[in-house]
Protein backbone atom coordinates (compact mmCIF):
# COMPACT_ATOMS: atom_id res chain seq x y z
CA UNK A 1 0.00 0.00 0.00
CA UNK A 2 1.52 3.30 -1.03
CA UNK A 3 0.58 6.26 1.08
CA UNK A 4 0.84 9.97 0.52
CA UNK A 5 1.98 12.26 3.30
CA UNK A 6 0.72 15.81 3.37
CA UNK A 7 0.95 18.44 6.03
CA UNK A 8 -2.21 20.36 6.83
CA UNK A 9 -1.08 23.68 8.21
CA UNK A 10 0.38 25.86 9.63
CA UNK A 11 -0.99 28.01 6.82
CA UNK A 12 -4.23 26.34 6.01
CA UNK A 13 -7.79 27.58 6.43
CA UNK A 14 -8.63 24.37 8.23
CA UNK A 15 -5.91 24.31 10.83
CA UNK A 16 -4.96 27.65 12.25
CA UNK A 17 -1.49 27.91 13.74
CA UNK A 18 -1.04 24.21 13.98
CA UNK A 19 0.00 21.36 11.77
CA UNK A 20 -1.40 17.90 11.26
CA UNK A 21 0.81 15.47 9.42
CA UNK A 22 -1.67 13.36 7.50
CA UNK A 23 -0.91 10.06 5.79
CA UNK A 24 -3.36 9.25 3.06
CA UNK A 25 -4.32 6.09 1.25
CA UNK A 26 -6.19 7.52 -1.69
CA UNK A 27 -8.59 9.86 0.04
CA UNK A 28 -8.65 8.05 3.38
CA UNK A 29 -6.63 9.20 6.36
CA UNK A 30 -4.62 6.30 7.71
CA UNK A 31 -2.62 8.32 10.20
CA UNK A 32 -2.84 11.88 11.49
CA UNK A 33 -0.20 13.17 13.85
CA UNK A 34 -0.47 16.58 15.50
CA UNK A 35 2.55 18.85 15.36
CA UNK A 36 2.01 21.72 17.81
CA UNK A 37 4.45 24.38 18.92
CA UNK A 38 3.84 27.16 16.44
CA UNK A 39 2.67 29.46 19.23
CA UNK A 40 4.83 28.14 22.04
CA UNK A 41 5.92 31.21 23.98
CA UNK A 42 7.35 29.74 27.14
CA UNK A 43 4.69 30.97 29.57
CA UNK A 44 5.82 28.62 32.31
CA UNK A 45 9.37 29.91 32.20
CA UNK A 46 8.30 33.55 31.96
CA UNK A 47 6.13 33.14 35.05
CA UNK A 48 9.27 32.49 37.07
CA UNK A 49 10.52 35.98 36.21
CA UNK A 50 7.34 37.81 37.16
CA UNK A 51 5.60 38.35 40.43
CA UNK A 52 2.11 37.18 41.20
CA UNK A 53 0.36 40.30 39.94
CA UNK A 54 2.51 40.64 36.82
CA UNK A 55 1.57 37.11 35.91
CA UNK A 56 -2.11 37.97 35.57
CA UNK A 57 -1.96 39.51 32.07
CA UNK A 58 0.43 36.76 31.05
CA UNK A 59 -1.82 33.91 31.95
CA UNK A 60 -4.82 35.22 30.10
CA UNK A 61 -2.95 35.47 26.80
CA UNK A 62 -3.13 31.74 25.99
CA UNK A 63 -6.92 31.97 25.82
CA UNK A 64 -7.81 35.57 25.15
CA UNK A 65 -11.47 34.91 24.45
CA UNK A 66 -11.79 32.83 27.59
CA UNK A 67 -9.60 34.96 29.81
CA UNK A 68 -11.68 34.99 32.98
CA UNK A 69 -11.80 31.22 33.22
CA UNK A 70 -8.06 30.75 32.97
CA UNK A 71 -7.48 33.51 35.53
CA UNK A 72 -10.06 31.88 37.76
CA UNK A 73 -7.80 28.86 38.08
CA UNK A 74 -4.71 30.99 38.58
CA UNK A 75 -6.17 33.20 41.30
CA UNK A 76 -7.67 30.15 43.01
CA UNK A 77 -4.20 28.65 43.16
CA UNK A 78 -2.69 31.82 44.63
CA UNK A 79 -5.55 32.21 47.09
CA UNK A 80 -5.23 28.62 48.13
CA UNK A 81 -1.56 29.15 49.01
CA UNK A 82 -2.21 32.47 50.75
CA UNK A 83 -5.34 31.15 52.50
CA UNK A 84 -7.51 34.04 51.37
CA UNK A 85 -11.29 34.06 51.58
CA UNK A 86 -12.88 36.05 48.77
CA UNK A 87 -15.92 38.24 49.64
CA UNK A 88 -19.15 36.76 48.40
CA UNK A 89 -19.99 39.56 46.00
CA UNK A 90 -16.57 39.17 44.44
CA UNK A 91 -17.26 35.50 43.89
CA UNK A 92 -20.56 36.23 42.23
CA UNK A 93 -18.96 38.75 39.90
CA UNK A 94 -16.30 36.19 39.06
CA UNK A 95 -18.95 33.67 38.14
CA UNK A 96 -20.72 36.23 35.95
CA UNK A 97 -17.49 37.02 34.14
CA UNK A 98 -16.60 33.35 33.75
CA UNK A 99 -19.98 32.53 32.24
CA UNK A 100 -19.91 35.56 29.93
CA UNK A 101 -16.54 34.32 28.75
CA UNK A 102 -17.92 30.85 28.23
CA UNK A 103 -20.63 32.22 25.95
CA UNK A 104 -18.11 34.39 24.08
CA UNK A 105 -15.78 31.45 23.54
CA UNK A 106 -18.56 29.09 22.53
CA UNK A 107 -19.89 31.60 20.03
CA UNK A 108 -16.43 31.91 18.55
CA UNK A 109 -16.41 28.13 18.24
CA UNK A 110 -19.78 28.15 16.47
CA UNK A 111 -18.60 30.88 14.10
CA UNK A 112 -15.43 29.06 13.10
CA UNK A 113 -17.37 25.83 12.81
CA UNK A 114 -19.61 27.58 10.32
CA UNK A 115 -16.57 28.50 8.24
CA UNK A 116 -15.14 25.01 8.42
CA UNK A 117 -18.25 23.44 6.97
CA UNK A 118 -18.71 26.24 4.44
CA UNK A 119 -21.70 27.86 6.11
CA UNK A 120 -21.02 31.61 5.91
CA UNK A 121 -24.21 32.66 7.69
CA UNK A 122 -23.11 30.66 10.67
CA UNK A 123 -19.92 32.68 10.73
CA UNK A 124 -21.73 36.03 10.61
CA UNK A 125 -24.50 35.38 13.12
CA UNK A 126 -22.43 34.18 16.09
CA UNK A 127 -19.75 36.79 15.41
CA UNK A 128 -22.42 39.47 15.59
CA UNK A 129 -24.22 38.08 18.64
CA UNK A 130 -20.90 37.62 20.38
CA UNK A 131 -20.47 41.39 20.42
CA UNK A 132 -23.49 41.72 22.72
CA UNK A 133 -21.83 39.68 25.41
CA UNK A 134 -18.51 41.39 24.78
CA UNK A 135 -20.35 44.67 25.40
CA UNK A 136 -21.59 43.45 28.77
CA UNK A 137 -18.14 42.26 29.74
CA UNK A 138 -16.69 45.52 28.50
CA UNK A 139 -19.10 47.44 30.68
CA UNK A 140 -17.89 45.53 33.71
CA UNK A 141 -14.18 45.41 33.00
CA UNK A 142 -13.42 48.05 30.37
CA UNK A 143 -11.77 45.70 27.90
CA UNK A 144 -12.96 43.81 24.87
CA UNK A 145 -11.19 40.51 25.27
CA UNK A 146 -8.36 40.56 27.79
CA UNK A 147 -10.14 41.66 30.92
CA UNK A 148 -7.43 40.99 33.56
CA UNK A 149 -10.37 41.35 35.89
CA UNK A 150 -9.77 38.67 38.47
CA UNK A 151 -7.16 39.37 41.12
CA UNK A 152 -5.98 37.34 44.07
CA UNK A 153 -8.54 38.25 46.72
CA UNK A 154 -11.43 39.31 44.52
CA UNK A 155 -12.12 41.20 41.35
CA UNK A 156 -10.71 44.51 40.19
CA UNK A 157 -13.78 46.67 40.62
CA UNK A 158 -17.47 46.50 41.33
CA UNK A 159 -20.00 46.34 38.54
CA UNK A 160 -21.29 49.68 37.28
CA UNK A 161 -24.96 50.58 37.16
CA UNK A 162 -27.05 49.03 34.45
CA UNK A 163 -25.10 45.83 33.92
CA UNK A 164 -27.99 43.69 35.09
CA UNK A 165 -30.46 45.20 32.63
CA UNK A 166 -27.98 45.03 29.78
CA UNK A 167 -27.05 41.43 30.49
CA UNK A 168 -30.66 40.37 30.75
CA UNK A 169 -31.50 42.12 27.53
CA UNK A 170 -28.64 40.32 25.81
CA UNK A 171 -29.77 36.98 27.25
CA UNK A 172 -33.40 37.57 26.24
CA UNK A 173 -32.34 38.34 22.70
CA UNK A 174 -29.87 35.51 22.49
CA UNK A 175 -32.30 32.89 23.74
CA UNK A 176 -34.49 33.63 20.77
CA UNK A 177 -31.49 33.53 18.48
CA UNK A 178 -30.46 30.11 19.73
CA UNK A 179 -33.70 28.68 18.39
CA UNK A 180 -32.79 30.08 14.99
CA UNK A 181 -29.28 28.68 15.26
CA UNK A 182 -30.78 25.29 15.78
CA UNK A 183 -32.90 25.67 12.69
CA UNK A 184 -30.23 26.89 10.30
CA UNK A 185 -27.18 25.17 11.71
CA UNK A 186 -27.49 22.35 14.19
CA UNK A 187 -30.52 20.73 12.59
CA UNK A 188 -29.55 21.70 9.08
CA UNK A 189 -29.45 18.48 7.02
CA UNK A 190 -26.27 19.59 5.28
CA UNK A 191 -24.51 20.17 8.58
CA UNK A 192 -25.74 16.84 9.87
CA UNK A 193 -24.40 15.09 6.80
CA UNK A 194 -20.99 16.72 7.34
CA UNK A 195 -20.74 15.92 11.04
CA UNK A 196 -22.96 12.98 12.04
CA UNK A 197 -20.78 9.97 12.69
CA UNK A 198 -17.57 11.92 12.06
CA UNK A 199 -14.75 11.70 14.54
CA UNK A 200 -16.45 9.35 16.94
CA UNK A 201 -14.93 9.00 20.38
CA UNK A 202 -16.54 6.33 22.50
CA UNK A 203 -17.06 6.70 26.23
CA UNK A 204 -14.30 4.23 27.06
CA UNK A 205 -11.84 5.98 24.76
CA UNK A 206 -12.76 9.37 26.14
CA UNK A 207 -11.99 8.22 29.66
CA UNK A 208 -8.87 6.34 28.61
CA UNK A 209 -7.45 9.32 26.73
CA UNK A 210 -8.45 11.73 29.48
CA UNK A 211 -10.15 14.28 27.23
CA UNK A 212 -11.96 17.16 28.86
CA UNK A 213 -14.79 19.59 28.44
CA UNK A 214 -17.51 19.43 25.80
CA UNK A 215 -15.59 16.69 23.99
CA UNK A 216 -15.88 14.51 27.07
CA UNK A 217 -19.52 15.35 27.69
CA UNK A 218 -20.39 14.68 24.05
CA UNK A 219 -19.03 11.18 24.60
CA UNK A 220 -21.45 10.47 27.40
CA UNK A 221 -19.46 11.26 30.54
CA UNK A 222 -21.33 13.68 32.76
CA UNK A 223 -18.27 15.34 34.25
CA UNK A 224 -18.06 19.05 34.88
CA UNK A 225 -15.91 20.57 37.59
CA UNK A 226 -18.56 23.18 38.30
CA UNK A 227 -20.68 20.31 39.64
CA UNK A 228 -18.08 17.76 40.67
CA UNK A 229 -15.83 20.08 42.61
CA UNK A 230 -17.88 23.26 42.99
CA UNK A 231 -15.68 26.29 43.27
CA UNK A 232 -16.76 29.88 44.02
CA UNK A 233 -20.56 29.92 44.29
CA UNK A 234 -21.42 27.32 41.67
CA UNK A 235 -22.92 25.08 44.35
CA UNK A 236 -25.57 27.71 45.07
CA UNK A 237 -26.64 28.03 41.46
CA UNK A 238 -29.00 25.77 39.62
CA UNK A 239 -27.95 24.52 36.20
CA UNK A 240 -27.71 21.37 34.15
CA UNK A 241 -24.86 19.69 32.35
CA UNK A 242 -25.80 18.75 28.81
CA UNK A 243 -24.58 15.29 27.88
CA UNK A 244 -24.82 13.46 24.60
CA UNK A 245 -24.21 9.78 24.02
CA UNK A 246 -23.23 10.02 20.34
CA UNK A 247 -19.61 11.09 20.70
CA UNK A 248 -19.37 12.54 17.20
CA UNK A 249 -18.71 16.04 15.91
CA UNK A 250 -22.39 16.86 15.75
CA UNK A 251 -22.82 15.98 19.41
CA UNK A 252 -19.93 18.30 20.28
CA UNK A 253 -21.56 21.20 18.50
CA UNK A 254 -24.85 20.42 20.22
CA UNK A 255 -23.20 20.32 23.65
CA UNK A 256 -21.65 23.72 23.02
CA UNK A 257 -25.04 25.09 22.06
CA UNK A 258 -26.77 23.74 25.16
CA UNK A 259 -23.99 24.96 27.42
CA UNK A 260 -24.63 28.49 26.24
CA UNK A 261 -28.24 28.11 27.42
CA UNK A 262 -27.06 26.94 30.83
CA UNK A 263 -24.52 29.76 31.04
CA UNK A 264 -27.26 32.29 30.44
CA UNK A 265 -29.32 30.70 33.22
CA UNK A 266 -26.30 30.99 35.54
CA UNK A 267 -25.76 34.64 34.63
CA UNK A 268 -29.39 35.48 35.33
CA UNK A 269 -29.34 33.72 38.70
CA UNK A 270 -26.01 35.18 39.73
CA UNK A 271 -27.11 38.69 38.88
CA UNK A 272 -30.33 38.17 40.82
CA UNK A 273 -28.83 36.57 43.93
CA UNK A 274 -25.79 38.81 44.13
CA UNK A 275 -25.39 40.23 47.63
CA UNK A 276 -24.01 43.66 48.28
CA UNK A 277 -20.70 44.21 49.97
CA UNK A 278 -17.04 44.46 49.13
CA UNK A 279 -15.74 42.82 45.98
CA UNK A 280 -12.14 42.31 47.00
CA UNK A 281 -9.86 42.03 49.97
CA UNK A 282 -7.60 44.92 50.70
CA UNK A 283 -4.23 43.38 50.15
CA UNK A 284 -1.47 45.84 50.87
CA UNK A 285 2.02 45.69 49.49
CA UNK A 286 3.64 42.93 47.53
CA UNK A 287 1.76 39.68 47.25
CA UNK A 288 3.89 36.83 48.53
CA UNK A 289 2.59 33.33 48.60
CA UNK A 290 3.94 31.26 51.48
CA UNK A 291 6.03 28.31 50.45
CA UNK A 292 4.12 25.24 49.49
CA UNK A 293 2.37 23.84 46.49
CA UNK A 294 -1.15 23.65 45.25
CA UNK A 295 -3.15 22.25 42.38
CA UNK A 296 -6.14 24.33 41.39
CA UNK A 297 -8.51 23.61 38.55
CA UNK A 298 -11.56 25.14 37.02
CA UNK A 299 -13.91 24.29 34.20
CA UNK A 300 -12.92 26.62 31.39
CA UNK A 301 -14.98 26.84 28.24
CA UNK A 302 -13.03 24.03 26.63
CA UNK A 303 -12.78 21.88 29.74
CA UNK A 304 -10.82 21.31 32.90
CA UNK A 305 -7.93 23.73 33.22
CA UNK A 306 -5.37 23.31 35.97
CA UNK A 307 -2.56 25.22 37.57
CA UNK A 308 0.11 23.50 39.60
CA UNK A 309 1.85 26.22 41.55
CA UNK A 310 5.01 25.70 43.60
CA UNK A 311 6.14 28.59 45.76
CA UNK A 312 9.26 28.97 47.85
CA UNK A 313 7.99 32.02 49.68
CA UNK A 314 9.54 34.52 47.31
CA UNK A 315 8.00 37.30 45.29
CA UNK A 316 7.79 35.13 42.20
CA UNK A 317 6.47 31.61 41.78
CA UNK A 318 9.11 28.90 41.88
CA UNK A 319 7.39 26.80 39.25
CA UNK A 320 4.06 27.13 37.50
CA UNK A 321 2.63 24.29 35.51
CA UNK A 322 -0.30 25.21 33.34
CA UNK A 323 -2.28 22.44 31.71
CA UNK A 324 -4.91 23.63 29.31
CA UNK A 325 -7.91 21.71 27.98
CA UNK A 326 -6.74 21.93 24.37
CA UNK A 327 -3.44 20.34 25.29
CA UNK A 328 -5.29 17.47 26.88
CA UNK A 329 -7.66 17.12 23.95
CA UNK A 330 -4.79 16.99 21.47
CA UNK A 331 -4.35 13.31 22.25
CA UNK A 332 -7.72 12.66 20.63
CA UNK A 333 -6.75 14.15 17.26
CA UNK A 334 -4.98 11.07 15.82
CA UNK A 335 -7.73 8.94 17.26
CA UNK A 336 -10.74 10.67 15.75
CA UNK A 337 -9.24 11.54 12.35
CA UNK A 338 -8.18 8.01 11.51
CA UNK A 339 -10.32 6.51 8.77
CA UNK A 340 -12.01 9.72 7.68
CA UNK A 341 -11.85 11.27 4.24
CA UNK A 342 -9.44 14.16 3.86
CA UNK A 343 -12.36 16.46 3.05
CA UNK A 344 -13.90 15.65 6.42
CA UNK A 345 -10.81 16.73 8.32
CA UNK A 346 -11.87 20.34 9.03
CA UNK A 347 -15.32 19.60 10.51
CA UNK A 348 -14.07 16.65 12.54
CA UNK A 349 -11.00 18.54 13.75
CA UNK A 350 -12.83 21.70 14.74
CA UNK A 351 -15.41 19.69 16.62
CA UNK A 352 -12.75 19.22 19.29
CA UNK A 353 -12.57 23.00 19.75
CA UNK A 354 -8.81 22.80 19.57
CA UNK A 355 -7.24 26.21 20.07
CA UNK A 356 -3.51 26.01 19.33
CA UNK A 357 -2.48 29.07 21.35
CA UNK A 358 -3.97 27.48 24.41
CA UNK A 359 -2.36 24.12 23.77
CA UNK A 360 1.12 25.51 23.13
CA UNK A 361 1.17 28.11 25.91
Amino acid sequence: MSTLSISVGPQHPGSGHFRIMVKLDGDRIVEALPDPGYVHRGEEKLAEYRNYIQNIPHFERPIVHDSSNILFAYVSAVEDLMKLEVPERGQYIRVVMAELNRIIAHLYYMAIYGIFVGHSTMFMWPMGDRELFIDVAQMISGQRVTFAFLLPGGVRNDMPEGVKERAEKACDYFEKRLVEYEKIFINNPLFERRTRGMGVLTKQDAIRLGVVGPTLRASGVKADLRKDEPYAVYDKLDFDIPVSQDGDSWARAWVHMEEMRQSMAIIRQALKDMPSGPVKLNLRGQIRAPSGETFARTEASRGALSFYLVSNGGMMPYRVRLITPSFRNMIAIPHILKGLLLADLPPAFWGLDYWPVEADR
Partner: protein, 167 residues
Amino acid sequence: MVNGATSNIFVGKLKDILQYSVKAPLRYVVNWGRIYSLWPVHLETACCSVEWGATSGPRFDVERWGMLAAFGSMRQCDVLIILGTVNRKMAPRVKMIYDQMPEPRYVIAFGACALSGGLYFDSYNVLPGVDTIIPVDIYISGCPPRPEEFIQGLIMLQNKIRASSVR
Protein backbone atom coordinates in the same frame (compact mmCIF):
# COMPACT_ATOMS: atom_id res chain seq x y z
CA MET B 1 -5.63 62.94 -35.40
CA VAL B 2 -2.86 60.59 -36.21
CA ASN B 3 -1.93 61.12 -39.85
CA GLY B 4 1.22 60.60 -41.86
CA ALA B 5 2.74 63.84 -40.73
CA THR B 6 2.27 63.33 -37.00
CA SER B 7 2.52 59.54 -36.73
CA ASN B 8 6.28 59.59 -36.55
CA ILE B 9 6.16 62.01 -33.70
CA PHE B 10 3.55 59.90 -31.95
CA VAL B 11 5.44 56.64 -32.32
CA GLY B 12 8.65 58.31 -31.32
CA LYS B 13 7.08 59.60 -28.19
CA LEU B 14 5.09 56.46 -27.38
CA LYS B 15 7.46 55.48 -24.64
CA ASP B 16 7.16 58.88 -23.02
CA ILE B 17 3.40 58.86 -23.32
CA LEU B 18 3.18 55.45 -21.75
CA GLN B 19 5.52 56.43 -18.97
CA TYR B 20 3.53 59.55 -18.30
CA SER B 21 0.21 57.76 -18.32
CA VAL B 22 1.48 55.09 -15.93
CA LYS B 23 2.77 57.87 -13.72
CA ALA B 24 -0.43 59.76 -13.31
CA PRO B 25 -3.83 58.56 -14.63
CA LEU B 26 -3.02 54.88 -15.02
CA ARG B 27 -1.26 54.84 -11.72
CA TYR B 28 -4.37 56.26 -10.19
CA VAL B 29 -6.55 53.61 -11.82
CA VAL B 30 -4.27 50.72 -10.88
CA ASN B 31 -3.92 51.86 -7.30
CA TRP B 32 -7.64 52.48 -7.05
CA GLY B 33 -8.17 48.90 -8.09
CA ARG B 34 -5.65 47.63 -5.58
CA ILE B 35 -6.78 49.43 -2.50
CA TYR B 36 -10.35 48.17 -2.59
CA SER B 37 -9.57 44.53 -3.27
CA LEU B 38 -6.98 43.60 -0.72
CA TRP B 39 -6.89 39.85 -0.25
CA PRO B 40 -5.33 38.82 3.03
CA VAL B 41 -3.49 35.53 3.54
CA HIS B 42 -5.10 33.29 6.12
CA LEU B 43 -2.16 33.04 8.47
CA GLU B 44 -2.90 33.10 12.16
CA THR B 45 0.19 33.20 14.26
CA ALA B 46 -1.22 33.78 17.73
CA CYS B 47 -4.10 34.97 19.84
CA CYS B 48 -4.71 38.28 18.00
CA SER B 49 -6.58 36.25 15.39
CA VAL B 50 -9.58 36.37 17.74
CA GLU B 51 -9.84 40.10 17.26
CA TRP B 52 -9.20 39.74 13.58
CA GLY B 53 -12.16 37.37 13.45
CA ALA B 54 -14.23 40.09 15.07
CA THR B 55 -13.15 42.60 12.43
CA SER B 56 -14.45 40.32 9.70
CA GLY B 57 -17.69 39.87 11.62
CA PRO B 58 -20.82 41.90 11.03
CA ARG B 59 -20.27 44.67 13.54
CA PHE B 60 -16.92 45.90 12.26
CA ASP B 61 -17.02 44.36 8.80
CA VAL B 62 -13.75 45.33 7.14
CA GLU B 63 -15.19 44.43 3.76
CA ARG B 64 -16.75 47.88 3.79
CA TRP B 65 -13.23 49.26 3.40
CA GLY B 66 -12.15 46.71 0.86
CA MET B 67 -10.43 44.02 2.91
CA LEU B 68 -11.86 40.78 1.59
CA ALA B 69 -12.35 37.41 3.16
CA ALA B 70 -9.25 35.38 3.82
CA PHE B 71 -9.83 32.17 1.95
CA GLY B 72 -7.46 32.39 -0.97
CA SER B 73 -4.14 30.76 -1.59
CA MET B 74 -1.19 32.94 -0.65
CA ARG B 75 -0.15 32.91 -4.30
CA GLN B 76 -3.13 35.11 -5.10
CA CYS B 77 -3.06 37.37 -2.06
CA ASP B 78 -1.67 40.85 -1.55
CA VAL B 79 -1.73 41.37 2.22
CA LEU B 80 -0.01 39.33 4.87
CA ILE B 81 -1.37 40.16 8.31
CA ILE B 82 0.91 38.93 11.06
CA LEU B 83 -1.58 38.27 13.84
CA GLY B 84 0.51 38.38 16.97
CA THR B 85 3.50 36.48 18.21
CA VAL B 86 5.87 34.88 15.74
CA ASN B 87 8.03 32.31 17.43
CA ARG B 88 11.10 30.48 16.32
CA LYS B 89 9.18 27.54 14.95
CA MET B 90 6.79 29.75 12.99
CA ALA B 91 9.40 32.19 11.63
CA PRO B 92 10.70 30.04 8.73
CA ARG B 93 7.10 29.37 7.69
CA VAL B 94 6.21 33.07 7.74
CA LYS B 95 9.21 33.81 5.55
CA MET B 96 8.28 31.00 3.20
CA ILE B 97 4.74 32.29 2.86
CA TYR B 98 5.96 35.83 2.27
CA ASP B 99 8.31 34.64 -0.45
CA GLN B 100 5.50 32.85 -2.24
CA MET B 101 3.28 35.92 -2.43
CA PRO B 102 3.31 37.84 -5.73
CA GLU B 103 4.31 41.51 -5.97
CA PRO B 104 2.94 43.93 -4.92
CA ARG B 105 2.62 42.61 -1.39
CA TYR B 106 2.03 44.38 1.84
CA VAL B 107 2.59 43.30 5.42
CA ILE B 108 0.62 44.47 8.42
CA ALA B 109 2.08 43.73 11.85
CA PHE B 110 -0.92 43.37 14.14
CA GLY B 111 -0.49 43.45 17.89
CA ALA B 112 2.32 44.20 20.29
CA CYS B 113 4.01 40.83 19.85
CA ALA B 114 4.35 41.29 16.10
CA LEU B 115 5.79 44.75 16.68
CA SER B 116 8.40 44.06 19.30
CA GLY B 117 7.75 40.79 21.09
CA GLY B 118 5.28 42.55 23.37
CA LEU B 119 4.63 40.75 26.62
CA TYR B 120 7.04 38.07 25.51
CA PHE B 121 10.03 40.35 25.07
CA ASP B 122 12.19 38.09 27.23
CA SER B 123 10.90 34.73 26.09
CA TYR B 124 13.35 32.18 24.76
CA ASN B 125 11.17 31.27 21.83
CA VAL B 126 9.68 34.53 20.52
CA LEU B 127 11.08 36.81 17.82
CA PRO B 128 11.57 40.46 18.85
CA GLY B 129 9.17 41.70 16.23
CA VAL B 130 8.29 40.28 12.85
CA ASP B 131 10.28 42.97 11.02
CA THR B 132 13.41 40.98 11.88
CA ILE B 133 12.45 38.52 9.14
CA ILE B 134 10.20 40.33 6.66
CA PRO B 135 9.64 44.01 5.79
CA VAL B 136 6.55 45.53 7.41
CA ASP B 137 4.37 48.30 5.96
CA ILE B 138 1.93 49.08 8.74
CA TYR B 139 2.31 48.58 12.48
CA ILE B 140 -0.82 48.34 14.62
CA SER B 141 -0.20 48.44 18.35
CA GLY B 142 -2.31 46.97 21.12
CA CYS B 143 -2.59 43.72 23.00
CA PRO B 144 -4.77 42.76 21.23
CA PRO B 145 -5.64 45.84 19.15
CA ARG B 146 -9.29 46.77 19.00
CA PRO B 147 -11.05 46.22 15.67
CA GLU B 148 -11.24 49.98 15.21
CA GLU B 149 -7.47 50.13 15.32
CA PHE B 150 -7.27 47.49 12.66
CA ILE B 151 -9.59 49.55 10.46
CA GLN B 152 -7.41 52.58 11.01
CA GLY B 153 -4.35 50.58 10.06
CA LEU B 154 -6.12 49.39 6.95
CA ILE B 155 -6.90 52.96 5.92
CA MET B 156 -3.27 53.88 6.50
CA LEU B 157 -2.24 51.02 4.24
CA GLN B 158 -4.67 52.21 1.58
CA ASN B 159 -3.22 55.71 1.76
CA LYS B 160 0.22 54.24 1.40
CA ILE B 161 -0.80 52.26 -1.68
CA ARG B 162 -2.53 55.30 -3.14
CA ALA B 163 0.67 57.29 -2.92
CA SER B 164 2.91 54.54 -4.26
CA SER B 165 4.21 54.39 -7.79
CA VAL B 166 3.40 51.64 -10.27
CA ARG B 167 6.13 49.79 -12.07
